[in-house]
Amino acid sequence: MAAADSPFSSTFRQKPWSRAVVHLFLIVGSLVFVFPVLWMLSTSLKPIEQTLTPEPVWIPHPIEIGNYASTIAYIPFLRYALNTVFVCALATIGTTLSSALVAFSFTRLEWPGRNLLFGLTLATMMVPFPVVMVPLYSVYRTLGWIGTLKPLWVPTFFGSAFSIFLLRQFFMRIPKSLPEAMTLDGASEFRIFWQMYLPLSKAPLVVVAFFQLMYSWNDLLGPLLFLTDQSTFTLTLGLQAYQSQEGGTQWHYLMAASVMTTLPIVVLFFIVQRALFQGMSSTQNFEG
């Protein structure tokens, strides 16, 4: 990174000792954050006797790689994983598609009450989930969805306020002449959406998709409320249930399962990192 881009450029660059101070803070900070992760990793590789000792054991001896295989056999991990992937895939597709479509309508199409409805959409962001928890439950019960995965993915096909907002802000930066040129070329509004707005908005779409994926993957409250049957449990709920179901929790298995639950998201983050930052800083230029 060039010195000018560094957040510390102006104040800290001057003094030679400042770099050391900054690094010290950063290292201490990252240790605080990485500590639980390391503990999780360590515990997942321990024999059961070493999981809860008065003197903490950091390096397991012997290292029990086999914990992972045992975990998969011990709890219905694959079942949970499959449920989670199913929910995440549909929710991600649902949120991305529907939010983009709504954002397009808020940006490009003119219809009466558009701005009012956009304001209302934003207002729903201010309503915390616990407030709508009970009404939602009764709605889903009426629909007969309690105990199924539907409450976790069907609503995503109706857009999410934050995603709509994010995409609309991005869409507004596309010069009007681009869709106009396409109109003159004979494209319908839907084609303009599909062949221009979506391909030009890859970066913010990645942001929206990734946030939804992360949310669905990590969501505990939703599954806790709406799922009743073990066979429909997602990973988070499964792990939670597993932890409390016995007096002596099998910490080493639980941590192995936790590692396997966390890992995909972390890996995915590194894969999409570039697009993610590009989407959030949104410095794309459409001239040309």
């Binding site: 002449s177 003159l184 070329d185 004979g186 221009m196």
Partner: protein, 373 residues
């Protein structure tokens, strides 16, 4: 190819702003018409109404024999070139050019042939696989032209297509657009705020102000016989100088009193101006119709004003001299370059009264007299 006819076209925006007011214009088949005027004069809105990107508040637009008020843009058989080119950034040059053809369901062979022909005309065969981002401004402009050409429309619409180019390229592309028009013979409506572009390109030039047509004629006709002071001041560079003064009848002589000196009203203008003796009029003089030389062919004893030199701008063979009188502090004379005059000195400046214009007072004062040539 087709004519384009606008009849009583009005555009009122929400909030009651009238941007186009009673616009009447008949554009003949194959004609090149330029709409020109300062920003906000309604020229772009008019073009966008022809394209179908804006709805009319009232009036009718015909393309050929068909009223197109309610015809969607794609069915109007027009092509438009935008100021920022509006190339699709995620498509290659080739894809940009054939997009409309694909939507029309043309066969692949026909599409390819049309695209290659257009690419050849514009000399962009080597760029077809590039994305717009990898093109220079001039190349992008060519691609935008290519995208318009491949559709073989009845009418081309240009919305300030050269404004984003640098000065040199602008002159070059201007010539190319003119040549393109001459070879394609397509009806063309071209919007610009640049009076030079308007003069050089248009078979006819439409000068607009505040949504109203001020004058619609050939470029030279507008230049030599502007209908009002606004038109006179808009076309020509440097712009026409305006002297606000009074008409004085002294015996059998009719004089224009500038305030510091008097100039004899020329014989050709007497009939129109004599009835206005005693009233205020505006005399318009192009910078080229003034001279600091007593040897100028039009220099006489009673057509000069004493003026102070405030600035000299050398241009090579010629120079622009900024001059001031008490009442008119900014007047420009476009004269042969020489080194004899100095900033600050006051000298007699001769006015070619054969080439002056007289207008009624006010910013858009109507023409009172101009000499036919």
């Amino acid at each position: 190819m087709a004519s384009v006819t606008l009849k009583d076209v009005v555009k009122v925006y929400e909030g009651g702003v009238k941007v186009v007011d009673g616009f009447n214009l008949e554009i003949a088949d194959r004609e090149f018409v330029v709409l020109v005027g300062p920003s906000g004069c309604g020229k772009s809105t008019t073009l966008r109404m022809i394209a179908g990107l804006e709805e009319l508040s009232s009036g009718t637009i015909r393309i050929g024999d068909r009223v197109v008020n309610d015809v969607p843009p794609k069915d109007r058989d027009i092509a438009m070139v935008f100021q920022n080119y509006a190339l699709y950034p995620h498509m290659t040059v080739y894809e940009n050019m054939v997009f409309a053809l694909k939507l029309r369901g043309l066969g692949a062979a026909a599409i390819h042939e049309k695209a290659m022909r257009a690419a050849k005309i514009l000399g962009i065969e080597g760029l077809l696989d590039r994305k717009p981002k990898a093109l220079s401004g001039g190349q992008r402009q060519r691609v935008a032209l290519g995208r318009a050409i491949v559709r073989e429309p009845k009418c081309f619409l240009f919305d300030e297509p050269l404004s984003n180019l640098d000065a040199k390229l602008r002159v070059q592309m201007r010539a190319e657009i003119k040549q393109l028009h001459m070879s394609l013979h397509a009806t063309t409506v071209y919007v610009t705020h640049d009076q030079e572009e308007a003069m050089t390109l248009g078979d006819r030039v439409v000068v607009m102000k505040d949504g109203v047509i001020q004058q619609c004629d050939g470029a030279l006709e507008i230049y030599h016989h502007p209908k009002n002071r606004f038109v006179a001041g808009f076309l020509g560079s440097p712009p026409m100088n305006f002297f606000e003064g009074h008409l004085l009848a002294e015996g059998d002589r009719l004089l224009f009193d500038e305030g510091t000196a008097k100039i004899q009203v020329p014989e050709w203008a007497r009939a129109e101006l004599a009835p206005r003796a005693g009233t205020a009029v505006v005399m318009g003089v192009r910078p080229g119709a003034m001279s600091d030389q007593a040897s100028a062919r039009f220099a006489t004893a009673d057509n000069s004003l004493p003026m102070r030199v405030t600035l000299i701008q050398p241009l090579g063979d010629k120079m622009d001299v900024v001059l001031a009188t008490e009442r008119h502090p900014h007047t420009v004379a476009h004269v042969d370059a020489h080194a004899r005059i100095r900033t600050g000195e006051t000298l007699p400046v001769y006015i070619d009264t054969e080439r002056v214009h007289f207008f009624a007072p006010g910013a858009v004062g109507e023409r009172i007299a101009t000499k036919r040539r």
